[in-house]
Amino acid sequence: MDYHSPASFAEASALAQNATGITRFLAGGTDVLVQLRSELVTPDTLIDIKKINGVHDITRNSDGSWTLGVAATGAEMSEHPELGHDWPGVVEAMDLIGSTQVQGRATLTGNLCNGSPAADSVPAMVAAGVTVTVTGPEGARDVAVENIPTGPGKTSLAKGEVISSVNIPARGENGGDAYLRFIPRTEMDIAVVGVGVNLRLDGDIITEARVSLGAVAPTVLLVEEAARAIIGTTLDDAALDALTAAASAACNPIDDKRGTIAFRTEVAGVLAKRTAKIAYARAKGEQA
């Protein structure tokens, strides 16, 4: 195994472009190292990107948007004084991953690139409209988070491409986001269903909404029907029923050791309703 610690993303991209066999980028390592130790994936080339300048930074830009370095950890996100105020759903989703020790290493980018349909931070990022900057042989481009995973363990990133930053939009006025997951225990578990909701209000009326589901299909889903079910409503009972039905209808899950098709489909609707209520309350400025 070859280990590299490049000083720039251009260098990281070139190393990956020229590597043969299995290549992995190492940021927090909470998936890569676990897979290595359990002999699931033994990379031929390991490119450590956490030594590149600025990758730990969490920056609020002048327009109110946020730029997160690819090695900013869950713990750093949770401890940030303002990020969680703007995007509580994204921060809470990240915070649900693993133990305190894992939080000290784990990153949004790693969670995304691992390609798990059950990744907790991904539905929250999709709902929030997060994009990532991808650096490759042809230069850099921005890609919506929902377009990165293509299936379990797979991404749309081409050979030589590496994510170089995470871009969260400006929160703006009267908005709120939330993420809930279902696990049989209280922590230290993998989502059986995950739901991210982000919305904006005009008075009591929802004017914008994004609803995202995790662990109910080969990739995290952005469910436009679910968003349409609540846009233009005050999240009244009829809207919640429509949201529940739309979320369940969008599910295409599997039966496995973590849950059944029927269970995941049912609970996706339940969680969509519960998550939307929290996001709505946050958009109203209420504690939730």
Binding site: S38, E39, F182, P184, R185, T186, E187, M188, D189, I190, V192, D256, K257, R258, G259, T260, A262, F263, E266, V267, V270, L271
Partner: protein, 750 residues
């Protein structure tokens, strides 16, 4: 001088001093199974079957042997080289077959070959070069399927004499017991409920994986360091499997990171010894977690049919249970114990129980805390709860009405001596928990539970030092605070402070045979032996005092750590403290020690009653345990904090078993969830503070009244939680674990 009468007033027993192993464990100084190293040590790794059932056609180790880092490879041919014994039989054969497959791989994870190499990585790489040709055979992993007529036969001739004719060859043992006429009893009942229940296999979930360091020379002399609940057992089995003399293998038990029954047998130890003998170097073997799940001894899965008749006043008129237990590919599933324990809390006129031991393509089951009892209690106590609900009766009152007491004929045969079930039920009824209001969505469950407890071969030595301190050598690995308990009991007899006593778990070369730390026997049996060994030393202390004073030894008694004249006629001498006697013991007759060995048989059965409140999310099927109270008879709690810890630990493991833990096998017969991420034991935040009540009804079979407490605490939880969940959900849950998908499905069908 003997203290054979039962004591009831204590100076040390019943106090809560600091644990003797606390500092070592919090600082990392404690040495567990994997913390042993030796000069020239090699690292072992085991190749395991990916198939649930397969004939081993060919094993080619030549490519692995060609690696320069590889120093030995063993297969079944390297075991039981016995010039004086033609072959192994019974459990010896079973254990050998389990630690290294013979003609067939019998389950996913079955050991096929093992490598010793100069590093752990080299050993693992070498495994990939071993070629095994399998002929895959049909498999079965479910207990009911394994008994069906078309089930593949796992081993012809595995059944013993007890199995009635006409059963499938996978039924290997049969038990039937009871008394009275159950049909007549059912006819007297106002309500008869008959139902079926299923539980899945669970793992003990000890945090420390199996680990050992073995060294065996060509002269047949060896040393073994391992994490175990019983190093004499390991000595006997390893020596037999390796074909060496028992006494030539010295086994030392490491500090143990949990066992719960799962470390009462051997898995890697004979393999490490065989590798060491072949490589002529010490070999260390450490399992990873996946190996622990796939290849050690989980508990049995069970399928059970229960029928109970009750009168309107709550009197049970008859009870019948059929218990089918699957225990992996070898005989041993405790269908007999399940049957014997299931109705044991109740004084029944008519009772009949049948137990089946069924083999299937799964790892060989091992003991797990009251083996067999929790699943039987789940089935029986669920039906009792349903009877109470349908007849509008209070579940504690009904259990009190039928509770066994001193003189009751037990469902499994004997007549009870003094027991404490009624006291636990009365304590439950009086506990604030039992009358606390429930919130919407919550339900309450109660259950009783029984366990036999055990005595077993026991040998203890105690030696006094010249400064008046004492060392106690026991042969039972400390899995639940026994070193603290032994020190308290020795302190009580000797009359010296707890802190002046060091208790050591001695190796097999230092004491006679000691049975495994199982059966909740240690505080009872090693405790009894410690008391008697201390009495033995006290006799000698009194002899020295008598000689010094020039009076007969029967004119001396032992009081508060001093020899004193036994009465006014014995003479007027100042009390002679222990340390004064030991200070010049070299000149007054030599070292002073005490010893005791026996197989004590008065362990005293144990009962408990649990109260649980559960809250069920009706939209997701998720259960939260919101309140939990354990009430159990300890006979006499030597160190109450440890007793409470045992109660809480049993409840915590029971919560996992009831709600989320299960062995999940795929269609291919492979275990799907062999890591802690997907084998869901409770995490700390899943548990409420578990309240405990220690009831003390002294055991007549122990000098201080001790009953074992380790196992009974896991008997009621499955049933108590199932009753709480069923009452919260409004639908009877008959299958464990009660995972959210199962509860949500049951709610849909309501």
């Amino acid at each position: 001088m003997a203290l054979d009468h039962r004591k009831s007033i204590f100076n040390f027993v019943g106090t809560r001093p600091d644990r003797p192993d606390g500092l070592d464990k919090v600082t990392g100084r404690a040495r567990f199974g994997a913390d042993a190293y030796a000069p020239g040590m090699l690292h072992g790794a085991i190749l395991r079957s990916p198939h649930a059932h397969a004939r081993i056609v060919r094993i080619d180790t030549s490519k692995a042997e060609a690696l320069k880092d590889v120093k030995a490879i063993v297969t079944r041919a390297d075991f039981a080289v016995l010039p004086f014994k033609p072959g192994l039989e019974g459990e010896f054969w079973n254990v050998l077959e389990n630690v290294m497959a013979g003609e067939k791989a019998l389950y996913d994870g079955h050991a096929i070959a093992a490598v010793a190499a100069t590093s752990a990585l080299a050993a693992r790489d070498a495994l990939k070069l071993i070629e095994v040709e399998y002929e895959v055979l049909p498999h079965v992993t479910d207990v009911d399927n394994a008994m069906a007529a078309d089930a593949p036969v796992i081993r012809e001739g595995a059944a013993d004499y007890s199995v009635p004719e006409g059963m499938h060859p996978n039924v290997v043992r049969y038990h039937e017991s009871g008394h009275g006429d159950v049909e007549a009893g059912f006819a007297e009942a106002d309500l008869v409920i008959e139902d079926s229940f299923v539980t899945e296999a669970t793992h003990q979930g000890y945090i420390e994986p199996h680990a050992c360091l073995a060294s065996l020379g060509m002269d047949g002399k060896g040393e073994l360091w391992c994490t175990t609940q019983g190093h004499w057992y390991a000595q006997k089995y390893c020596a037999t499997l390796l074909g060496i003399e028992t006494a030539q293998l010295r086994v030392t038990a490491s500090e143990i990171g949990g066992g719960f029954g799962g470390k009462t047998t051997v898995f890697i130890e004979p393999v490490a010894l065989a590798l060491s003998r072949k490589a002529n170097r010490p070999v260390k073997l450490v399992m990873n977690r996946s190996e622990v799940f796939r290849s050690t001894g989980p508990t049995s899965s069970a399928s059970m049919d229960i029928k109970i008749g009750m009168k309107k006043d709550g009197t049970i008129t008859a009870a019948q249970g059929i218990f089918r237990l699957q225990g992996g590919a070898f005989p041993g599933a405790p269908g007999d114990l399940t049957a014997m324990c299931a109705f044991a809390p109740y004084d029944l006129t008519n009772v009949r129980q049948v137990g089946y031991d069924v083999i299937a393509n799964r790892p060989k089951q091992a003991a797990y805390r009251a083996p067999g009892a929790p699943m039987g209690a789940f089935a029986v106590e669920s039906v009792l709860d349903e009877l109470c609900n349908q007849l509008g009766l209070d579940p504690v009152d009904v259990r009190l009405k039928n509770a066994a007491a001193e003189g009751s004929k037990a469902s499994y045969g004997p007549t009870y001596e003094r027991i404490g079930l009624v006291e636990t039920l009365e304590a439950a009824k009086a506990h604030p928990h039992y009358s606390a209001p429930l919130k919407p969505g919550q339900g309450r469950g109660i259950s009783c539970g029984f366990w036999f407890n055990h005595g077993g071969e026991t040998s203890v030595s105690l030696a006094l030092s010249e400064d008046g301190s004492a060392q106690v050598m026991v042969g039972t690995p400390d899995i639940g605070g026994s070193r603290a308990s032994m020190a308290l009991m020795a302190a009580e007899v000797l009359g010296i402070p707890y802190e002046n006593i060091r208790v050591t778990v001695a190796d097999t070369a230092s004491l006679g045979y000691n049975d495994v730390s199982h059966g909740s026997r240690v505080t009872y049996a090693s405790g009894l032996a410690t008391i008697k060994a201390a009495n033995h030393a006290v006799e000698k202390l009194c002899e020295r005092a008598a000689a010094k004073w020039g009076i007969p030894v029967d004119a001396v008694k032992w009081e508060d750590g001093c020899a004193v004249p036994s009465g006014p006629n014995a003479g007027d001498f100042d009390p002679l403290p222990l340390a004064d006697i030991t200070a010049d013991m070299g000149a007054t007759g030599g070292p002073i020690s005490g010893h005791f060995e026996a197989t004590p048989e008065g362990a005293g059965v144990s009962f408990g009653t649990h109260i649980v409140d559960a809250e069920v999310d009706s939209e997701t099927g998720k259960t939260s345990i919101v309140r939990y109270t354990v009430i159990q008879d300890a006979g006499k709690a030597i160190h109450p904090t440890y007793v409470e810890g045992q109660y809480q630990g049993g409840a915590a493991q029971g919560i996992g078993w009831a709600l989320n833990e299960e062995y999940i096998y795929g269609e291919d017969g492979r275990l799907q969830n062999s890591i802690f991420l997907d084998y869901r034991i409770p995490v700390a935040s899943d548990l409420p503070m578990i309240d405990t009540v220690i009831v003390e009804v002294p055991n007549p079979g122990h000098p201080f009244g001790v009953r074992g407490v380790g196992e009974t605490g896991i008997v009621p939880p499955l049933a108590a939680i199932a009753n709480a969940v069923s009452n919260a959900a409004g639908v009877r849950m008959k299958q464990l674990p009660m995972s959210p998908p199962r509860i949500l499905a049951a709610l849909k069908e309501k």
